[in-house]
Symmetry: C2
Subunit: 335 residues, 2 copies
């Protein structure tokens, strides 16, 4: 991305092993994330940056200390590099690893090849070479599914719970899928787009709420005996959506937030008197990858349906435009 709105596909040097814990992979597929739109829209600074942090591919080379990943393996990786051995990783928060780095900042996987540091701690090999129709779902696990899943776990979605999901983007839709898989009794998708409502229902939404802001909060309360939802997922990252999520959570309930907050300022007193649990941030996708790969491999879940436009990598610029203009929920880039 040369500048906001200016995406070009250009030649870069081939990546190579630098540290003995590295792997180099050949990408099978990659994609464009909602968070890539922040710099595209000029909300985050950008200047000739390689882009991309979601990826699946085949291992081409490994460093001398890599143990769990072999050349030829098909792998799925997290959008945050982690060693998966430090105390923070072992507590399940690999996105806060002492060696954490964002793939978007140090790699850029909208590319043919990528060097992945801490390969053992970041990548997970699939049980074999996947059928082509599984690739989109495996790619989704890299961020959008992993993030939606984390949000639902953070919101403590589970049996007997009513879960409300703020945001009908790809992550919100994945949170709907996750809430349902985690056993939630009722999943309320907050969406005003018919096509996304349909996808939300496909993934297990039992109710749709079209209202936003205070009206959206009132509607959630109406649907929950005046109490609010047990579990709320925030998957947008604006001031309005965050406070809508706070308001929709019942006292003592759980809010999981994964929309990257831009310019959000949370009034301390509102959060205080809400009396709710919160957990958010960059998702520790690595924690969930083994389980998510299994669910996809067994065809229990089909997160790949969230990709509604597929383009070859050299048409990445059109992919950004389609997402920016909301003509596509999420764009897959093929190689």
């Amino acid at each position: 991305m040369h500048a906001p709105g200016d995406v070009r596909v250009e030649e870069r040097d081939d990546p190579r092993i630098i540290d003995p814990t590295d792997a180099v992979i050949r990408l099978t597929a990659t994609c464009i994330c909602g968070s890539d739109l922040w710099p595209y829209r000029g909300i985050e600074p950008v200047d000739h940056a390689p882009m991309g942090h979601e990826y699946v591919g085949v291992v081409e080379e490994i460093g001398s200390e890599v143990r769990t990943i072999a050349v030829g393996d098909f792998v799925v990786g997290s959008f945050v590099i982690s060693d998966n051995t430090c105390e923070i990783c072992r507590s399940g928060f690999q996105s806060q690893c002492v060696h954490a780095q964002f793939v978007s900042q140090v790699v850029g996987t909208q590319a043919e090849r990528a060097r992945i540091p801490y390969a053992d701690g970041t990548l997970v090999a699939t049980p074999g070479q996947p059928d082509p129709e599984l690739v989109p779902s495996l790619l989704a696990a890299s961020d959008v599914l992993g993030t939606g899943w984390f949000a639902a776990v953070a919101a403590e979605a589970g049996p007997g719970k009513t879960v409300a999901v703020v945001g009908d983007g790809a992550v919100g839709l994945m949170a709907v899928l996750a809430a349902r898989q985690l056993g939630a009794e009722r999943v309320i998708a907050m969406s005003r787009h018919p096509d996304r409502q349909e996808l939300a229902r496909h993934y297990g939404a039992t109710d749709i709420v079209e209202e936003r802001g205070d009206k959206g909060v009132s509607r959630i309360k109406e649907l929950t005996g005046g109490l609010g939802a047990h579990s709320v997922v925030e998957a947008v990252g604006t001031q309005e959506s965050f406070m809508q999520a706070v308001g929709a959570t019942r006292g003592g309930g759980h809010l999981g937030y994964v929309g990257v907050n831009h310019g959000v300022s949370i009034p301390g007193d509102e959060l205080f008197f809400a009396g709710i649990h919160t957990l958010g941030g960059p998702a520790p996708v690595r924690r969930f990858l083994p389980d998510l790969i299994r669910l996809i491999w067994d065809r229990t879940i089909d997160p790949g349906r969230v990709f509604d436009l597929s383009l070859p990598l050299d048409q990445a610029a059109e992919g950004y435009r389609a997402m920016d203009e909301r003509r596509a929920v999420k764009v897959l880039l093929t190689l």
Copy 2:
């Protein structure tokens, strides 16, 4: 409180039973809370308001539907009215009860007598009439101990954990006590006052950190292998203290916040990238009262030591002055 800084002890009408779920109690002792200083200092509006929300006393009269409390019982009550039967109460968040009311707003227990709504859901009777030396500790359970205890529970203090407590007021000191009782391995009190440091050590603090703000955060990280504390309690409620608490919590760690936030504005992106659990708000003291009463009755804990000045009720104005000028940590008012 006629106005900020203007506290007077005056005659009010005797309280009487209004609803069949009410009880009228004769206060044995009451006290002044750190939160009473907000209106005293003019930070919250106040205009001829009855004050006080911490109380122990003897039941004088009960409504026809009161079942668990009898005339003559010695009772401890929560600073929030709760029915203790609704779905929110049953989930342990009595301070968010569908019938929740703040005692400070509807009762005012810096008084000789008080009407307590939802007596069964708000009050807990002690096993018998307490020895006089237990009264301060039982009174502490009503808010300051219950709030500190909730903060430690919200921060998931427990075996193997390092707990940092931001704030050396009465609530912070009670959080130190609670963290220790809950089995925390290490309890770091953040305090720069020698007398409060001593009390913190008495209640189980293993370390003292005098630095504040970013320097305080750095010191906590130094003491925790660079990671931050597993569990952090925020017991002040200012912008600096809140962000100090966020910064002191390790990724994936737990922040329990009970300082009433005044003018605090939490930067969404800082909270996001911290990747921490938070839980806060008015404490559901009622959840903990039976256990706290037992611990006090058995003389396992002595929270009453947090009162370092005792005055008769008619000298309440001097009590406010002493706390405002930080000459006293917490003032007990006798009747």
